[in-house]
Symmetry: C2
Subunit: 572 residues, 2 copies
């Protein structure tokens, strides 16, 4: 591609409205432009990268035996009513009516459509397992779209759906897809981790997310130092602490803790550590019988809303109650609450349940209790895993301790089981001639998000450093003062034509621009291999080669340049 | 692809709700399935064809110098307000509000978005001409979606937009794109015609449509028998008739024509030809000054609404007025109207203007006049080209006469001029440093519609006959009784693997099915080359080859089969 016939559209300055480095660089490198909140145009350079990611995903899906199809973006409400999600799904589901006042939505995911297609097309267990995917534009009406294409409203996703006669077959395909995802991220060249994950609004049982590791990641991921264990912190289980609860050694004592609004302030006021304070939170219950539930955690631990909401007494999703409701149940403001004397269910985190001689709110504004002990001074209804794990916790598999890193979720796979097939009556005849609801898996990859995640992981102060697999161009040719030197022009032109004829995607900077601008642009856009053609070099019959990641730099004989580039490309 | 790992999903019977042959065959061949009115899932076989069309379009666009980008489907209303189309566009534009109650639409076309992108990215005439395209999902909320993907609501379109400093540059790119379109339809292997067209809601001046010729086409296309002239009948000009108006030879005479509701009935009642009757229609005017306009045509000619609406006095789009309004202006029902004594503008078709001694309504219910002559008996305001051309008319270029065929519109190119760039202030600095609105072209191809149009043109009683360029598979391997014959299985398997390794897309029918079903399915799906592996053939060391279009059939030696297939593929 000649730059004169292309739209490079780089920007010198950081755009003011971008926070993330990938968002800044995608704008500066002329990859995307914002049309409205969460809506982007992919300019030519961005689209070239996007298509490369798409193609790697497509190839690996095909290898894994998934078959491509294409479902509509616009989906009728009746299928969503069958699955029950028309009412369950929040405002992220963009709903609208057509000219005949019929209800539709813009698809954020396609479980309903594929289930409706498959229930009509498959009839026998002999046709199973089956696995279908599409690479398609999705829409989620995010309340606060941000970070460019990292969290946009319209985005490109690969979504696959597998169908099985039983869970054993599902497990096999799940493992095949798990491996295919690893192949995809390996081929792209990303530092990523598959981690145990919560299933969220999609539903089902077993689930893994694939995270690209990056400081800017929205998710926290826990890893074992000594095993393969890795989980989203939303999901990571904290091991039940070993040992007996120590016997009480202190008497209960009421102390004034005026103006203390946080656990930290209360602990400091009492001259103890936050870990020796029990904190009590009030959340909505799952039933009318118990509309409010108290949760107790160690003062230095954080509530994990996802894990807590799995408790049968607690509303899912978890909702904190108002200060008025706290007052009505505890008789005080949130900062002075404790478990003593409450008339509502009290659910205690495992680590909080083995505390003894602890401090907690006195259920009286401005006062705490010290020397409190379970059973003797306060009762609880149940013990449950309520907290986020913290670095240094033991790994749930018993091997090593947990570390925490930040990750960007780029893939998510689920064992759905029969959630959709039962609701939508998607059955086949089994070996005994009986109708059986299918077991389903679903497998998503955020294709457009991968582009941003790759940049988060691969950049320097000058711009993007693309993994070669998804670079928009493999080679940049920079001719110095081409418009003055016929020799430079001829050599550069011949080199360009030779590389293009070999199918090596090359950006030829053939416009009248200063060397500084051309250097800056090719570094910003992150083209892996740079060739500079100059009169000075040609005097010695050489062209200057440089690798974007600075791993290699050489003056190459003109006759050897193409071979050199080819060997570089083949090595990757 | 092994059929056991694929979703062939053919249907034996014609679906009841499909009229067009392409719609029936796409359903029967397992290419598409309806999700809701005008919304289809592309099953694997359909998608394979769709992607092949897409790729041909993409390659030819790239060759023509157009650069690919990708704009969002969801578009904010503010850009459509800038262009003025938010209010102009009818209910085909699907409008909705997001969760923050902001107005958006699902893009039926992208003039507004590209103009907004380009006005920000281009600043100088030196960056021109520039030409960008995308291949993307579009949505038009058709009042009556029908004919499968031929007129669906969600569909895939290639839309390109070019930008120029002047109309001369636009004309050059327009010609380049015209040629690229011819290359695309040639490569796909379609019988098509570029024809002069009306610009419709998109606007602009010069415009061509590309039509695939087929009996079922919704459009009528006029061709010269002796020149390249071809035009959509909506657009085709009727030549002004030569010669003087004959002098009156008859006196005016009023005759009773009771119960005659049509021109034909009135002509029969009077014992004359319909071509000797003048018919008068009443339509809405373009201005408040003249709210009703009378149009007069020869009785055997049809009103062309598109051409008529170009007259400055006539509303665009053309609207016929109510019977009450006719009565108020002519004093009678529509069947008895004529131009005599009307107090509103009367616009007369060129062929009607040279009639003499003609008949027309008497503006009195149940009566006509005979022997009427212009000037002597009735006045007109203007003469204009109001009628559809008919077969046998002289070609507007003066060469030959016109024939009429049916066509399916698969492409449309426009010279927009500065319609959008002026409205949206898309300017660059010209050679003199002055801001100048860009001249624009736009170029559409109905990618999904091409798939249906190709079937309309290429099928027989057994199913689809794909042009090789877009066939879902090139070769089908049918093993006879494979599950009983180890020899058949081994040979078929080896053949499959060899063809796949050569990159020849092959469907291997490896399921336990009767030969009849396998033959029927491969014919229905339209796979160009069929190989039958049977014990009977293998006894003589042969495999049976047959071409889908019956042009070739041979028993090939096993060792020669792959070479034979390769030579067949290379010849196409």
């Amino acid at each position: 591609m000649r730059s004169s016939q292309y739209l490079l559209s780089t920007l010198k300055e950081d755009p003011s409205d971008a926070e993330l480095i990938s968002h800044k660089l995608m704008l500066r490198a002329g990859m995307i432009r914002k049309i409205a909140a969460g809506l982007y145009t992919w300019l030519p350079t961005g689209l070239r990268v996007l298509r490369k990611v798409e193609n790697i995903v497509r190839e690996e899906m095909n290898k894994a035996g998934a078959v491509e199809m294409l479902m509509p973006s616009v989906q009728p409400s009746d299928l969503w009513e069958e699955s029950g999600r028309w009412d369950q799904f929040g405002p992220e589901l963009l709903r609208f009516v057509d000219r005949h006042q019929r209800d539709f939505c813009l698809g954020p995911t396609h479980e309903e459509i594929i289930t409706s297609v498959i229930r009509d097309e498959l009839s026998s267990y002999k046709q199973l397992p089956a696995n279908f995917y599409q690479i398609q534009t999705k829409f989620r009406d995010e309340v606060r779209p941000r970070f460019g294409v990292m969290r946009s409203r319209e985005f490109i996703m690969k979504d696959a759906y597998s169908f099985h006669i039983d869970d054993e077959s599902l497990e096999q395909t799940y493992q095949t897809m798990h491996q295919a995802y690893c192949n995809i991220f390996d081929r792209i060249g990303l530092d990523y981790r598959p981690v145990l994950a919560d299933t969220g609004a999609i539903g089902g049982s077993n689930s893994h997310e694939f995270h690209v590791l990056a400081e800017s990641g929205e998710d926290a991921i826990a890893f074992s130092t000594e095993s393969d264990y890795a989980a989203n912190i939303e999901k990571a289980e904290s091991l039940a602490p070993q040992g007996e609860v120590a016997a009480p050694t202190q008497d209960i004592e009421k102390v004034a803790t005026p103006d203390c609004r946080s656990v930290k302030e209360a602990a400091d006021s009492m001259g103890i550590e936050t870990r020796d304070v029990l904190k009590t939170l009030f959340v909505e219950g799952a039933s009318e019988e118990h509309p409010v539930i108290a949760l107790c955690l160690r003062g230095d631990h954080e509530l994990n809303e996802i894990k807590a909401s799995k408790h049968e007494l607690i509303a899912d999703p978890l909702v904190l109650v108002s200060d008025e409701t706290v007052k009505a149940n505890a008789g005080c403001a949130p900062g002075s609450c404790g478990p003593q004397g409450l008339n509502i269910p009290v659910i205690v985190d495992r680590d909080a349940a083995i505390m003894s001689d602890f401090a907690c709110g006195a259920n009286e504004d401005g006062y705490h209790l010290k020397g409190v002990n379970w059973k003797r001074d306060a009762e609880y209804t149940d013990v449950f895993d309520l907290r986020n794990i913290v670095a240094g916790d033991k790994s749930p598999d018993g091997k090593g301790v947990l570390e925490i890193k930040r990750g960007i979720e780029v893939g998510h796979i689920f064992q759905l089981g029969d959630k959709y097939s039962k609701a939508m009556n998607c059955t086949v005849l089994d070996q005994n001639g009986k109708a059986k609801p299918l077991s389903m898996g679903c497998y998503g990859i955020g294709v457009s998000r991968i582009v941003a995640a790759a940049i988060e992981q691969n950049h320097d102060e000058n711009g993007i450093i693309w993994p070669e697999s998804i670079a928009p161009f493999k080679v940049a040719i920079i001719p110095m003062n081409m418009h003055k030197s016929e020799n430079v022009q001829q050599v550069a032109e011949a080199l360009y034509q030779r590389l293009e004829s070999l199918g090596i995607e090359t950006l030829f900077l053939d416009q009248k621009e200063s060397p500084g601008v051309m250097f800056a642009n090719t570094e910003l856009v992150g083209i892996p291999h740079r060739l500079v053609v100059s009169d000075r070099g040609l005097k010695n019959d050489t062209i200057e080669y440089k690798n974007r990641d600075n791993s290699d730099k050489a003056d190459l004989e003109v006759a050897n340049v193409v071979d050199y580039i080819q060997s570089k490309l083949n090595n990757n």
